[in-house]
């Protein structure tokens, strides 16, 4: 197959950004400690980006993930507080995410409301529920097994959060490229009419990707809670935008039909690296925000130009 520059854009940019920060900050940036720290900070976005790759590849979008993070972290913490049963707590958290995901999927696939509107509504609905659940107060987590497995632990030098990222990414990669399910998601996103004429249950596929997205967001919420030993309604605020940016930077098509899980994870890491490098560089929070916004536009532009360039050469 012909080498398509645009397919590898995110990896090239990633390496260039690493080099720039390594030259700029030296040891401060390019130490094992700092790199592992970045993987810890980006784990939740990466995990949600894996699931969002399916959503966006299916031609949909999920804006409600940030609110699902908040609600399921609280559900998990509350169940843990009252029963001290870890499995029950994890189960409740994940089911919360799955139910909200199916709720989104139902309105998108069956009632046929655009996903943008449905999930925007859900965002507010679920966020409100999260604030209401504990009257905006935080819920502490004292179960140490839980906080070790879902946040603070390490395996050797590797943070457990990064291990979770790798596991989810591996499952996502396998499901999208090697399973019939992945082919159905891509076909649905690539041409819904044709998918229907091929006997694919388009509604079920769409509901499934929203359920996956809800579950991944719930899992991310549980990791947030484990990491700071507390659940809070503010968790996940604005994460939907970071996740979508990571997925698009990674090379998944906003128009549907094309998706890359590995690209999404690298996209998420790329944004983590930029955040980290800017902090070490001593930029203020406001400066960081501006640079981050500019960089996203710059990179997506580069990637688009590369795609268009290859289209001309055809």
């Amino acid at each position: 197959m012909k080498f398509n520059f645009s397919n590898y854009m995110v990896y090239i940019i990633f390496v260039i950004v690493l080099l720039i920060f390594a030259l700029w900050h030296g040891e401060k940036f390019f130490s094992a400690n700092n790199i592992l720290n970045i993987t810890r900070q980006t784990a939740m976005i990466s995990i949600m980006a894996v699931a969002s790759t399916f959503v966006i590849a299916a031609g949909q979008i999920d804006l409600s993930i940030g609110s699902i993070v908040a609600l399921s972290s609280l559900v998990t913490a509350l169940v843990l507080q009252s029963t001290d049963n870890m499995f029950l707590a994890i189960g409740s958290g994940l089911v919360t995410g799955a139910v909200i995901g199916l709720f989104n999927g139902f309105f998108v696939a069956k009632i046929r409301i655009p996903a943008f509107l449905v999930t925007l509504g859900t965002l507010s609905l679920v966020k409100g529920a999260a604030m209401w659940a504990t009257n905006t107060s935080a819920v502490p987590i004292t179960n140490e097994t839980y906080t070790q497995i879902f946040g603070l632990g390490t395996i050797g030098p590797i943070p457990i959060l990064f291990v979770w990222t790798l596991i989810v990414a591996a499952i996502g990669y396998f499901a999208l490229t090697k399973l019939p399910f992945g082919k159905k998601v891509l076909a649905t996103g690539g041409n819904e009419t044709s998918a229907k004429y091929t006997g694919i249950n388009v509604a079920r596929t769409t509901m499934a990707v929203f359920a996956l997205s809800g579950i991944a967001a719930a899992f991310a919420g549980m990791l947030y809670a484990g990491r700071v030993q507390t659940a809070r309604y503010t968790f996940g605020e604005g994460d939907e935008l970071s996740v979508i940016a990571a997925v698009i930077l990674g090379g998944t098509s906003m128009a549907g039909g094309v998706g890359t899980v590995i690209g999404s994870v690298v996209g998420s890491l790329l944004m983590g690296v930029i955040n980290n490098g800017l902090i070490i560089g001593g930029l203020s929070v406001s400066q960081q925000m501006m640079v981050r916004g500019g960089i996203i536009i710059l990179f997506v532009t580069l990637s688009m130009l590369a795609t268009r360039g290859s289209a001309f050469k055809r």
Binding site: M1, K184, N191, T193, S194, K196, T198
Partner: protein, 500 residues
């Protein structure tokens, strides 16, 4: 002043080092309707895109009315009165007919930069009336059928003064009535001295409406002459440079007669208000044709049997067993397949590869362990590419880069792989070049001889006559006749049966 309004000489064009036009010449006299004919990939579209300034030729000259010109953009050619109606419709679906017609040149209120809607609609109405297009200019375009969209497209091109009008397959999506409206417009324009280039795969239209013909093959000019000096056979001969395909359209005796056993029985199917009681049967190894005009219900019947819009009541019996079809999956499980009418929209995921498209209907059966059985996938894809002679560099090529004929073969391949007992094909040769048409006709004949059963829906009567054992005639949702394939003396007889 030259006798020719358009002279293109020695036009060369390469893409990626591949020569698609080899020193092509094209001369067209003022006021004539000139057919440009050739298989897919012959270079017709590239030639017209150079004329309209979309592409720039690598070398060669263009003269308009004897004056040498150089076009670097569509605006340049537009200034010389050259207009093209594209195959892909370029209307804005949410705007009205009038707004679309005057998209680039909205009539302004006097002295103000404000669009005068009333005046615009009045001018649009005049234009439509002039060409006898019965259409309300205030209608929003997305409420119109494809045929009317095409007519609006033409009105749009004519709203500015046109000297040379290029029509690229203008009738591909038109009904017979709409085609006649279009021909009326063409004749009117001709009377006014507008020169037209007419690209079409439909032979009878070429003979009906054009004055002269240029035939291209493999990026080269083959012949130009008056239409009356050609016959259908001679055109096909020049297009193909060989005679293999002509044979495909000749009626041949089947090697194997259809058996007496019914593979499909349809009884009293109630599909919608138009199709209330449809009954017919299909025998094993038979090719059953559905003839009828657009809107006669041909496609609806196939889509009901295939579960796209399931029937409200009635029985469908496959291999003597009644089956319940509520969705496409039920139909596939019952052994029914449909090659849909619109290959690009319904048949394929255009941005995906040949391989991914081909395995999609059977993807659930290809599981092995946790993932897909790579070896079996590869086997299926390679054997189908070989069997159906699909021309592609490799199976990972994105399917939109294949020619129409090869795309259609992939659609057929994907359904053959499901091992269907009944294979329905809705206009399987629409919009593909005559060489590929012949191959597909031949393929159906071969597969039927192997005992496969087909329902063939087609507007091309020569096709139906060439391979069908039986032809059912449909009109306004009712079966009005049945003809034995061996007893049809001529195309006129079948045409008459459809039109009556």
């Amino acid at each position: 002043m030259s006798e020719y309004i358009l002279e293109m000489d020695g036009i060369n064009k390469s893409f990626n080092g591949v020569k698609v036009l080899k020193s092509v010449g094209l001369k067209i006299k003022k006021g004539e309707v000139h057919a440009l004919v050739g298989g897919n990939g012959a270079g017709k579209s590239t030639m017209m895109k150079i004329l309209t300034g979309v592409y720039t030729a690598d070398s060669g000259t263009i003269r308009i009315g004897g004056e040498p010109v150089k076009f670097d953009s569509a605006q340049d050619s537009s200034r010389y009165g050259i207009r093209m109606i594209f195959q892909e419709l370029s209307l804005v679906p949410t705007m009205t007919v009038a707004e679309n017609i005057f998209l680039n040149q909205k009539p302004k209120a006097k002295g103000l930069p404000i669009i005068n809607n009333r005046q615009m609609e009045k001018k649009a109405a005049e234009l439509l009336r002039e060409f006898e297009i019965d259409l309300d200019p205030s209608r929003v375009v997305n409420t119109l059928g494809v045929g009317y969209c095409q007519l609006v497209e033409i009105a749009k091109a004519l709203s500015q003064d046109a000297k040379i009008l290029v029509l690229d397959e203008p009738t591909a999506s038109l009904t017979e009535t709409e085609t006649q409206i279009l021909f009326g417009i063409v004749r009117k324009l001709k009377a006014r001295g507008v020169t037209m280039v007419y690209i079409s795969h439909r032979m009878h239209e070429i003979f009906q409406i054009t004055d002269s013909i240029t035939i291209m093959r493999d990026g080269q000019h083959i012949i130009t002459d008056d239409t009356r000096n050609f016959s259908m056979d001679s055109i096909i001969h020049h297009m193909l440079g060989s005679t293999t395909v002509e044979k495909a359209f000749k009626r041949m005796h089947r090697e194997r007669k259809p058996s007496n056993a019914n593979v499909l029985e349809v009884k009293h199917l109630h599909i919608n208000d138009k199709l209330k009681d449809v009954s017919f049967e299909l025998k094993k190894g038979e090719v059953l044709g559905f003839a009828g005009l657009m809107g006669s219900g041909r496609t609806e019947i196939a889509e009901a049997i295939f579960g796209i819009n399931p029937a409200k009541s009635g029985d469908i019996i496959v291999d003597h067993k009644p089956v319940k079809i509520r969705n496409v999956k039920d139909a596939i499980d019952a052994g029914i397949a449909l090659i849909p009418e619109d290959r690009r929209r319904q048949g394929l995921v255009l941005i995906h590869t040949v391989k991914d498209n081909m395995i999609l209907p059977v993807v659930d059966k290809l599981k092995k362990g946790l993932g897909l059985d790579k070896k079996r996938v590869e086997n299926i894809v390679q054997s189908k590419i070989g069997e159906l002679a699909i021309k592609t560099d490799n199976s990972n090529k994105v399917i939109s880069l294949l020619s129409g004929g090869n795309q259609q073969k992939v659609v057929i391949a994907k359904w053959l792989e499901t091992g269907p007992k009944v294979l329905m094909m809705d206009e399987p040769t629409a919009g593909i070049d005559i060489g590929a048409k012949g191959e597909i006709i031949d393929m159906i004949r071969r597969l039927a001889d192997q005992g496969n059963s087909f329902i063939l829906i087609s507007s091309e009567l020569t096709e139906l006559m060439a391979i069908c054992d039986r032809i059912i005639v449909l009109k306004d949702g009712r079966i009005t006749g049945e003809l034995n394939g061996d007893d049809i003396p001529s195309e006129e007889v079948l045409q008459h049966a459809i039109q009556q």
